[in-house]
């Protein structure tokens, strides 16, 4: 029987079937579900790490002990882990090592569109690109086998579209398995597990040879095992493609010859040359960077069309591939009648903080200080503080950057107060070293930790501050206030996230604090955690509402307009959607005429 699995679920299944017994990850859209799924299989140890570098180092240590391991992260997470990643390629691995990375073409939930395959080239190890869930499952197994055979790390690279699409796979056979643990540490293996300059110099030529060996394997075994395959049809054009792009190609151009490369780096050059010789001209269809195209061009294989018609920017879609195929002369233009928007103006619908969100009162307050302060934001749900109605984030770069940016702004002589805003999970991810640096250099900044007791944006994952493990068991809880005090922060205050005035007054004190950073911990659990307390919902008294609009400044989706008009202003009065309201009361605290109270 076949079942529908997402690409992420299929990767987890394939890795488990291939004998992976230890895995570590930091959550990040679109990679998160790989670890959530993997953790549910029997006989494995799976963990959330504090950040991606820690996850990678965990996996390296386990692998150096002889285990089959997996580390998973989103594309920008690989940047965090890159230091170790470069070197573990040099050392090689005695167990088997798969790095799962999920790229995000079109940056649907990310800061950029970087193509992780560049890391495979940079670190000189193979990269596999599955194109549906069955591929994802199979390639996870091939990745482990390749790693085992060539003692190389292997990248299994997904994209948002693969990770979050579901397609059919053969239903897995349930099997019990016991966790085995590592054998006695073997000091006789040939792998140099301690990288020193002399080791690096000796290893570099061996790494170059390893890449050539992998490419040879891809030319032979890679075809036998179905990692790469050729579909020979009409020989006027041959299409080389990989990953999700293959699906668009096979659907839009069913009569064309296709070389599907499951390994996009290094490519099996001899087989590609054979394929090129068998067709009149070669076209490359791949998403984001021209990784395959460059390898072909470097090898002197002529490419008729590639990135000239299939754009580098943005996700490939059926429509984009169709347009490229038309431009390359592979398809006739098909006229699409009426394919235009309706003659109706459709209002923009941006994402918003959820009803009851503990970040709301902080952003409502901080927007009052636009003249006096700048806000350095961070990565999480609170990135939405940059959106209307708050528009209260002045800088936003990467995970953990808020504290360092506020510090730099302040120490460079910034005229405004500098406020860093960071979440609890992000604080543990990469907020501690910049806080140490701010204390050390006496940066006068206000560090606001929005502590909602969860990694919220990625779908509620646990972290060191929650003290709950990936398996939902009690672990060690680390107190953020205690961490800050132990680093030498002398102003550390905690405040109830839903108390608008209290948040405001503590924020003022923190901004006025001198001689080093001040920390405010805004405590309030995410509405999707069991700690969040729903209260009796709010209600607007229509006789009191004067349509001033103050309540809309808290940006709550539960606050809507009623059909009742306030005659003085001619505007529609406020109402509260009883299905959405959680009773957090932030709106009632900002209403100047006390029109909002608890519903009876």
């Amino acid at each position: 029987m076949k079942v529908l699995l997402s690409g992420n679920e299929a990767i987890a299944l394939g890795a488990w079937e291939a004998g992976v017994q230890y895995a570590s990850a930091y959550p990040g859209t679109p990679s998160t579900e790989v670890m959530e799924r993997f953790a549910r299989y029997p006989g494995v140890r799976a963990e959330w790490a504090a950040n991606e570098k820690v996850a990678l180092d965990n996996a390296i240590g386990a692998c150096f002990g002889g285990a089959r391991v997996l580390a998973a992260m989103k594309h920008v997470g690989v940047n965090v882990a890159a230091d170790s990643l470069m070197s573990v390629s040099y050392t090689g691995v005695p167990g088997a090592f798969v790095l799962v990375t999920a790229d995000d073409p079109s940056a649907t939930s990310s800061q950029n569109e970087q193509d992780s395959r560049r890391y495979a080239q940079l670190a000189k190890f193979p990269c596999l690109d599955p194109s549906d869930s069955e591929d994802a499952r199979k390639f996870a197994g091939i990745a482990i086998a390749l790693s085992d055979r060539f003692e190389t790390p292997v990248m299994l690279r997904s994209t948002t579209r693969l990770s979050h699409s579901k397609s059919a796979v053969e239903s897995p056979a349930p099997a019990a398995r016991e966790f085995e643990g590592l054998p006695k540490y073997d000091r006789t293996v040939s792998i140099a597990r301690a990288i020193l300059p002399a080791v690096a110099r000796r290893r570099h030529p061996e790494i170059e040879q390893r890449l050539r060996d992998v490419a040879d394997w891809a030319s032979t075994e890679g075809f036998v095992q179905g990692l790469n395959h050729v579909e020979m049809r009409d020989t006027s054009v041959g299409i080389v493609t990989t990953g999700m792009a293959y699906q668009y190609v096979r659907e839009l151009l069913p009569d064309r010859s296709i070389l599907k490369l499951g390994m996009s780096y290094p490519i099996p050059l001899e087989k590609v040359r054979e394929f090129a010789d068998g067709v009149d001209r070669l076209v490359v269809v791949e998403e984001l960077e021209p990784i395959i195209e460059e390898q072909l061009v470097n090898a002197g294989i002529e490419v008729a069309h590639g990135k000239d018609v299939f754009p580098i920017c943005g996700e490939l879609t059926p429509a984009v591939v169709r347009a490229g195929a038309v431009a390359a002369g592979l398809l006739d233009v098909v006229s699409m009648p009426d394919n235009v928007p309706l003659d109706i103006e459709v209002p923009e619908r941006l994402p918003a903080l959820c009803p009851g969100c503990p970040h709301r009162a902080f952003f409502y307050n901080v927007r009052r200080y636009k003249r006096k302060a700048i806000v350095a934001g961070d990565i999480g749900c609170y990135s939405m503080g940059a959106l209307p109605p708050f528009e209260a984030v002045d800088m936003l770069i990467s995970m953990g950057a808020s504290i360092g940016m506020a510090h730099g702004f302040n120490r460079a002589g910034g005229q405004e107060s500098a406020i860093a805003v960071i979440g609890d999970s992000t604080f543990f991810h990469s907020g501690i070293p910049p806080l140490a640096s701010a204390v050390y250099n006496k940066a006068n900044i206000a560090v606001v930790v929005l502590d909602n007791r969860i990694t919220a944006m990625t779908g509620q994952q646990e972290h060191p501050g929650t003290g709950i493990t990936l398996q939902g068991k009690a672990g060690e809880h680390i107190d953020i206030a205690g961490v800050a005090r132990s680093l030498g922060v002398d102003f550390v205050e905690e405040v109830n996230a839903w108390d608008v005035d209290a948040v405001n007054s503590i924020l003022r004190k923190a901004m006025a604090h001198e001689d080093g950073p001040a920390m405010v911990i805004v405590r309030g659990a995410c509405v999707f955690t069991p700690y969040f307390k729903h209260q009796p919902i709010m209600h607007v008294d229509p006789d009191k509402c004067v349509t001033c609009g103050m309540c809309f400044n808290v940006g709550c989706p539960a606050i809507v307009r009623s059909d009742e008009i306030y005659e003085t202003s001619g505007k529609r009065k406020t109402a509260i959607d009883p299905l959405l309201c959680t009773g957090c009361s932030v709106c009632s605290q900002v209403c100047p005429v006390q029109a909002i109270g608890r519903a009876e």
């Binding site: 529908l4 549906d132 579209r161 699906q247 309706l342 109706i344 459709v346 209002p347 994402p351 307009r561």
Partner: protein, 198 residues
């Protein structure tokens, strides 16, 4: 009942309306009908209060997990203005199934945009599509006993406009929803079938 061989379904609405679950079920129904099926959506930043789109495709062999713009056979919109937002994805002879619910986006609440006139919106949709079915899913879901069964009402209506075996849908829904909500979902499914048939 007609034998369906291939169909492109686009389910759209606002985060939190139960669209992902509904799409999972609709994709499973494709497999249960003996076809290949794929589904795709984007999670993450747009999750709450933002626009949600989910693609479901049934065919003997499905390539792309997303529909192509201009080739959508059935649009299932959980909210009125969201139906209009995706109109340029529709095939000329498509069916639009729209939930009669209005959720004002923040841009409207803040006075930066206006919500279109409902009659004009539906008239424009009717001019575009071969058939428009308006479903009052929220009151029906409340009648069934739980407002969260709105997505089951919409699935029931979808099963009806696609002219497929309702039993396959009913079973797929019951396999997916928590056991304690089985009864309300049974009622919701029956109500949705009735409405779409009338």
């Amino acid at each position: 009942m007609t034998e369906i061989e291939r169909v492109n379904i686009l389910v759209v609405g606002v985060g939190g309306q139960g669209i992902i679950t509904a799409s999972d079920i609709a994709a499973q129904v494709g497999l249960d009908l003996g076809l290949d099926a794929k589904k795709s959506e984007v999670h993450g930043f747009a999750q709450r209060g933002g626009v949600v789109e989910s693609h479901i495709r049934w065919a003997p062999s499905v390539g792309s997990p997303t529909c192509e713009k201009g080739y959508v056979d059935v649009l299932v919109a959980f909210e009125l203005v969201e139906a209009a937002r995706w109109a340029d994805w529709l095939k000329p002879d498509c069916i639009v199934l729209v939930n009669h619910q209005r959720l004002d986006p923040m841009s409207v609440n803040l006075g930066k945009a206006t919500y279109p006139d409902e009659d004009e919106l539906l008239a424009a949709l009717r001019a575009r599509a071969a058939r428009v079915v308006v479903v009052d899913a929220l009151p029906l879901a409340e009648q069934a006993g739980n407002p969260r069964t709105m997505n089951t009402i919409m699935l029931a209506a979808l099963s009806s406009v696609l002219d497929t075996d309702p039993e396959v849908w009913r079973k797929a829904i019951l396999r997916r929803v928590p056991q304690r909500y089985a009864d309300v979902n049974e009622v919701a499914f029956a109500l949705g079938r009735e409405v779409a048939a009338s």
